[in-house]
């Protein structure tokens, strides 16, 4: 919708109230970010509970360096390895998810078959389930197929449980494309795969962007699968490592905050630069895409 001109006469004090309320709300949302930055920027000497709201005396990157590389002296393991694990996990899993989702969405949107309107909600239900209800057999099966405890195993899990949401977004995306286009190609003798490859794939970039942002964000931010599937710290994703770091009493607060900022950075950057597509995925997630 385009913004419509509200024909109301603006009253001075009500505008002041509106902005005051908005700034107050913004302060609530930004408070944790402010705290992350000022704590992360402090030097180790400045970390003091009674002065936690004071600004740092300058830009100190010691805590970021410790959070990233760790500190052998204090027995702190850095997050750099886990950050890379999350990269090696999220990128391939996102790609596979998007490809699989686009194929499913295409078939469900354009090749209606008997039972497809029963199959689709049955698939969708998979995105709402509490994953606790599948964890026990999941661990057993992953152990049997030798994928337990590895990044490959986590990729597999995220691709499988990403099927419902990626299928949903692509199905809604492809449903917008005129069926005549498909019909015409059928007459020209194109097959089911040919139509996908030559007609739909070239125009599905925006769909791919929405799905990939959604999947990247949810895989990067996942904790439950990470903590269940990977038990060795060397292969754990960053959320699991950050949680371990925060639960350890030897790690100072400034290092924890620096670690939290590092863990949040990739998805925050995606949000800042591709926020529009992020929103679309968000609204698609509530089925009203």
């Amino acid at each position: 919708m385009t913004t419509q001109a509200h024909a109301r006469q603006p009253i001075r004090w009500s505008r002041v109230l509106i902005y005051a309320a908005l700034f107050l709300a913004a302060a609530f949302y930004l408070l944790p970010v402010y705290m992350l930055f000022i704590t992360g920027m402090k030097s180790f000497q400045e970390v003091n509970l009674s002065r936690m709201w004071d600004l740092p005396t300058g830009f100190h990157f010691d805590s970021f360096i410790t959070a990233w590389f760790g500190s052998e002296k204090e027995g702190i393991t850095g997050l750099s390895g886990n950050f890379m694990n999350s990269i090696y996990l999220a990128i391939p899993a996102t790609l596979f998810s998007a490809i699989l989702g686009s194929l499913n969405g295409y078939v469900l949107a354009k090749w209606k078959f008997r039972g497809s309107n029963v199959l689709f909600p049955l698939m969708l239900f998979g995105m709402f389930i509490p994953y606790q209800s599948i964890l026990i057999p999941l661990v057993q099966v992953l152990k049997n197929i030798s994928l337990y405890g590895s990044i490959q195993g986590l990729i597999f899990v995220h691709v499988v449980y990403g099927i419902p949401i990626t299928t949903l977004i692509f199905r809604n995306y492809f449903a917008e494309i005129p069926t005549e286009l498909i019909e015409a190609s059928k007459i020209d003798g194109a097959g089911i795969l040919g139509i996908y490859r030559y007609i739909l794939l070239p125009i599905s970039l925006p769909g791919f962007v929405v799905v990939m942002i959604w999947q990247f964000q949810s895989i990067w931010n996942d904790f439950l699968f990470g903590v269940i599937v990977t038990s060795r710290p060397a292969v754990q994703p960053i959320t699991v490592a950050l949680n371990n770091m925060a639960g350890s009493y030897i790690v100072q607060w400034n290092v924890q905050m620096a670690g939290a900022l590092l863990a949040a950075l990739p998805t925050l950057l995606v949000f800042v630069f591709l926020g529009r597509y992020f929103m679309r995925g968000l609204l698609a997630g509530s089925l009203k895409g």
Binding site: T3, A5, H6, A7, R15, I18, A21, L22, A25, A26, Y29, P32, L36, L49, W53, L100, L103, Y106, V107, L108, P121, L122, F125, F128, I129, P130, Q132, S133, I134, I136, P137, L138, V160, Y161, I163, L193, Q217, N221, D222, F223, L224, I228, L242, N243, A246, Q256, M257, A260, A263, A264, T267, L268, F271, V272, G275, M279, L282, L283, S286, L287
Partner: protein
């Protein structure tokens, strides 16, 4: 082409749910599976106070969390959307500020809010938000946040409590039917993260309401408040319902935030079923009990989501 995905969902969702459901009726309580059938025993134990009342406490906490989290997200999201709909300057920036927490992991949110709401100790003095309150002269607002084990409930010795005991409802006047105040901290953190979502949904809804409708109401002499109460809020009802479903199923499943922010808390004051399931299954090897908790969780989510899914599919088929 669809077949691999259909098979994967059939096995990894429905097959696994079936296996979990089956396990919940067995004796499996160690690393080696034991599928001796015990009927409903695991469920009966969860809903009784013997050997542990932890699950009943978890249900109480889930109710507290779900109700407060839904109210907070819907009220805050609606107010922010209405404010942003008043042709404000810098709308895009405000929207970004209200929405960015959605892009962050619950783990990061938990770590940061644990630090912010850390009440401090007598030795070290106040810290976090408590300290901030002191600095701005609102020291009376400081309290224990998620470390406060207080449970608000009807005291059994009060008049109402004695009445309830008299008619055999003594359990209503017990801490099992109460509000764990430590959960408020988790609600604050979760609302910080998720209220941008309701804001975005309501804003999209507000923008979809034709201006002519408001104009017509104004011509008929309706005040701005009346326009919201009688026209806009009823029109936003389907969006509110979607928000309740989506946020409701998130709150029933809430896990990451509790793990990173509070853990089970003093006397399980912030424990939730998803955490208990993980704890008892993967730390305690009580697989059958874990499976029973997981099944209860699944059923509660299904009760919320399935009617919504069916309804959505039906309206779609009509189009």
């Amino acid at each position: 082409m669809l077949a691999p995905s259909v098979i994967a969902i059939a096995i990894f969702v429905y097959g696994f749910i079936g296996f979990t459901g089956f396990s919940s009726f067995t004796k499996w309580g160690s690393l080696t599976p034991d599928f001796t059938w015990v009927g409903l025993r695991n469920y009966e134990r969860l809903f009784s106070t013997i050997p542990s009342d932890r699950f009943i406490i978890d249900l109480r906490n889930t109710v507290t969390f779900t109700v407060l989290f839904l109210i907070a997200c819907i009220v805050l999201g609606f107010l922010l959307a209405v404010l942003l709909d008043q042709r404000v300057k810098g709308e895009g920036i405000f929207r970004g500020v209200f929405l960015f927490p959605m892009a962050i992991s619950f783990i990061v949110t938990g770590v940061v809010w644990r630090w912010l709401l850390n009440p401090g100790t007598l030795q070290t003095g106040s810290s976090g938000v408590n300290l901030l309150f002191e600095k701005v002269g609102l020291g009376f607002l400081r309290w224990g946040w998620f470390t406060d084990p207080t449970i608000w409930h009807i005291p059994p010795e009060s008049g109402l409590g004695q009445f309830l005991t008299g008619i055999g409802l003594d359990w209503v006047a017990s801490p099992y039917v109460g509000v764990s105040v430590a959960m408020f901290s988790v609600v604050i953190a979760a609302t910080w993260q998720m209220s941008g979502y309701t804001m975005a949904m309501f804003l999209a809804g507000l923008r979809g309401i034709p201006e002519e409708l408001r104009e017509a109401a104004r011509v008929d002499g309706a005040s701005e408040i009346q326009i919201y109460r009688l026209i806009i809020i009823p029109l936003l009802r389907p969006i509110t319902l979607s928000a309740v479903i989506v946020l409701g199923h998130i709150s029933l499943k809430i896990f990451d935030l509790v793990v990173s922010m509070t853990g089970p808390g003093p006397a399980f004051a912030t424990d939730v079923p998803a955490f208990y399931m993980w704890d008892t299954t993967f730390r305690g090897n009580n697989f059958a009990v874990g499976a029973a908790i997981a099944t209860i969780l699944l059923v509660s989510v299904a009760v919320l989501v399935v009617p919504y899914l069916i309804n959505t599919m039906r309206t779609e088929a009509e189009l």
